[in-house]
């Protein structure tokens, strides 16, 4: 039982990160219909920023998190005004834009390799100290922080999308751009808001996970694939369903790795993604987006 709980605790923390990445995917997808394949690299950018600010510049965590948000905001603006909007204005087809997101990700990776270095760097946790043990189950403080912050962020994003006029308007932009425009919603500006929100959430996810797995240019892909799986598994519809799906994937990964076989755990995780991709589209069409 202790072993099961131990695995569950790890799975929830890991899955919460997948959920955050899913959240990042969904926010841009809802606003623009674009699947952003640079999400993993944006997570990496958050982690690398945290590394530079915390370990190289010796700033405190409040400033580090502020810095991560600022860098995320800048990246979002570059992404939106440097790539996305010009392509939209030229009437670029969706597939070109998807390729552009992949290219943007590759550029971010190369920039991190050249600017910071191509290796994994350790990042101190927010609360250093021994793992906390409760009834035989031990947790790293950082895992607790990850889980808590991830769910708070999902809560905030949910609140934003359902309880604020800007959030509801942003959903309207994604659901029916004409409806939003004739209602006076500043469509272009709100799409920028969506990019900023998505990148900030993802980059904060990166900063959170860095103390556990380190920060490095190539860290994003594995997490992004599972985050994407979580978004699809959640029906590409709601932020909290993506989060729940993320946690489910994290749990399955941990439990199957222990109880079935550690060698097949990645296979199991990717099988879930394939199943999700094959089975989900019908449901996505039916349910539509509801926050």
């Amino acid at each position: 039982m202790t072993t099961f709980l131990q695995l569950a605790v790890s799975g929830i923390a890991l899955g919460s990160i997948y959920g955050l990445v899913a959240l990042g995917f969904l926010v841009i997808y809802h606003a623009t219909g674009l699947v952003n394949f640079a999400q993993g690299q944006l997570l990496m950018a958050g982690a690398m920023t945290a590394y530079v600010l915390l370990m190289q510049l010796d700033l405190g965590y409040p400033l580090v998190l502020l810095g991560v948000v600022v860098v995320a905001l800048l990246l979002a603006l570059v992404f939106r005004y440097g790539i996305h909007r010009p392509m939209v204005r030229r009437g670029a087809p969706t597939e070109n834009m998807v390729v552009a997101t992949i290219a943007f990700g590759l550029v971010l990776t190369a920039a991190a390799e050249l600017g910071i270095g191509n290796t994994r760097y350790g990042v101190d946790p927010i609360f250093p100290g021994a793992p906390i043990a409760i009834g035989g189950v031990s947790m790293q403080t950082q895992s607790i922080v990850i889980t808590a912050v991830a769910w708070v962020l999902v809560g905030l994003v949910w609140f934003f999308f359902t309880k604020t006029l800007t959030g509801v308007s942003l959903r309207a932009v994604g659901l029916n751009r004409t409806a939003a425009a004739v209602s006076g919603v500043r469509v272009s500006r709100l799409i920028t808001v969506a990019f900023a929100l998505s990148v900030i959430v993802t980059a904060v996810g990166g900063a959170l996970v860095a103390p556990i797995i380190g920060a490095g240019p190539s860290m994003g892909l594995a997490i992004a694939v599972k985050g994407f799986a979580a978004a699809v598994l959640g029906g590409m519809s709601s932020v909290y369903r993506g989060m729940v799906a993320g946690v489910a994937i994290g749990l399955i990964e941990m439990l199957s790795s222990y109880y079935i076989s550690s060698a097949y755990a990645p296979v199991i995780a990717y099988t879930i993604l394939f199943l999700a991709l094959v089975l989900m589209p019908a449901r996505v069409r039916k349910s539509g987006a509801t926050a």
């Binding site: 072993t3 131990q6 695995l7 790890s10 799975g11 923390a13 890991l14 990160i17 370990m55 390799e113 270095g117 191509n118 290796t119 994994r120 760097y121 350790g122 101190d124 793992p131 043990a133 031990s138 947790m139 790293q140 996970v209 556990i212 797995i213 380190g214 490095g216 190539s218 860290m219 594995a222 997490i223 994290g250 990964e253 941990m254 439990l255 790795s257 222990y258 550690s262 060698a263 755990a265 990645p266």
Partner: protein, 406 residues
């Protein structure tokens, strides 16, 4: 020690599997520079270094270069050689193609008398034919591939390995397990070909020594969580772990072992001497055991560490393993050059075959770095020590594990 044939094959396979980069298609070097570098008696003698100074292997390549620089500075300052040495360092980014191109430029344009090879076996395999093809001597500082010294290759006469090779390390690690008299030794690796091949080889070597791997688990490379793997091994009753990982995965494994409060000896590879590992693992790396070439009780090692830290700072290469090998490479080369009258090529090669370094920075007290005719692997028996990490700092674990030349 006499190594039975099958085991040698197994070790070679392990070494092959652990060559980090792919072997590039290097073209044979031009034979114009047959003299093998600068033999004029004017000005400084140029020594080349091709290694990864940026990218993932830079945490190995840069300390090597610093060790080289320290040695050259000391020699030039002392002035005993009669000639100044000058370093020409090129970054190959651990890329075989770039490494081959750098070698070509170095032997044709820079006129180096010898080239020091970097940390990656793959790049050395790519640049060695070009260097030796031009009649220039190469000393391999840190790359451990068993196949780097191969009498069958045309450049074998001009190629020297300073470091102990992979088989040497694995033999010492197996010795450590033997000494521990463990009941259930378990193994961890990633699911890549490198990791799985490594586990296979370890199994074979263990069998030959009458040991067995009780349980082996694997994980994705650059894993995000290793809780299931750690719990699997713990619940399987393992009392020692062979961690065939380095970098992030090794750090994460140790973090998890410490998190679930499992007291178990974990033994890893020499790559854990990188500052990068310490940076990721922090104090969570505590308890991991791995081979090193540094003996803190050896006077020459102490002198080297003191001088190195004074020049580059304590955090530059806290384990001093790779910098020491870079340093000793220059010392071996300098002895050879002195004997050959600063002539490169064949003259330097045959001079090196009589070189012995009794007071090298690397190696356990009593060991030597020695080249003899037909034996271009320098470390003698009992070259290795075992280290661990305590409170986020490198600490000596044991000087008593026997290590033998394969």
């Amino acid at each position: 020690m006499n190594v039975p044939r099958p085991r040698r094959a197994a070790l070679a396979a392990l070494a092959l599997g652990s060559s980090i980069a792919l072997v590039g298609c290097a073209t044979a070097g031009s034979s114009e520079a047959q003299s093998g570098g600068d033999t004029s008696s004017e000005g400084p003698v140029k020594i080349g270094y091709i290694g990864a100074l940026s990218g993932g292997s830079a945490s190995l390549g840069v300390p090597i270069q610093h060790g080289i620089e320290l040695a050259i500075d000391q020699l030039n300052e002392a002035g005993d050689l009669g000639r100044e040495l000058e370093l020409v360092a090129v970054d190959d980014e651990a890329d075989a193609t770039k490494s081959a191109a750098a070698a070509q430029r170095m032997v044709t344009e820079d006129g180096v008398v010898a080239v020091l090879g970097g940390p990656n076996s793959g790049t050395v395999l790519a640049n060695n034919p070009i260097i030796t093809g031009a009649g220039v001597v190469q000393l391999i500082t840190v790359a451990q591939g068993d196949n780097l010294i191969d009498p069958e290759t045309p450049g074998a006469d001009l190629t020297y390995q300073v470091t102990e090779n992979n088989s040497y390390d694995v033999g010492a690690i197996v010795q450590l397990f033997e000494d521990g008299a463990y009941d259930a030794i378990c193994a961890v690796s990633d699911t890549t070909e490198y990791g799985q091949g490594g586990i296979q080889t370890i199994r074979t070597v263990f069998e030959e020594r009458g040991l067995e791997i009780a349980t082996a688990v694997s994980h994705e490379v650059n894993a995000t969580d290793l809780t299931p793997q750690v719990l699997s091994l713990r619940d399987a009753g393992c009392d020692a772990v062979y961690l065939f990982d380095y970098g992030q995965d090794a750090a994460l494994f140790m973090k998890t072992v410490n998190q679930v409060d499992w007291e178990v000896p974990v033994i890893g590879g020499r790559g854990l001497n990188q500052a990068a590992f310490l940076s990721i693992a922090g104090e969570a790396g505590d308890g991991i055991i791995f081979p090193s070439v540094i003996d803190p009780e050896k006077a020459s090692a102490q002198e080297f560490i003191e001088a190195y830290d004074a020049k580059f700072g304590e955090d530059d290469d806290p384990a001093h393993t790779f910098s020491a090998l870079g340093y000793d490479s220059v010392m071996l080369l300098a002895a050879g050059l002195e004997a050959s009258g600063f002539e490169g090529g064949e003259a330097l090669a045959s001079a090196l075959e009589d070189v012995t370094l009794e007071d090298a920075a690397s190696g356990k007290e009593g060991s030597t770095l020695t080249y003899t005719y037909g034996d271009h692997r320098a470390p003698s028996d009992d070259f290795l020590t075992f280290w661990t990490i305590e409170g986020g700092e490198y600490q000596l674990y044991s000087r008593d594990v026997q290590s033998t030349r394969p």
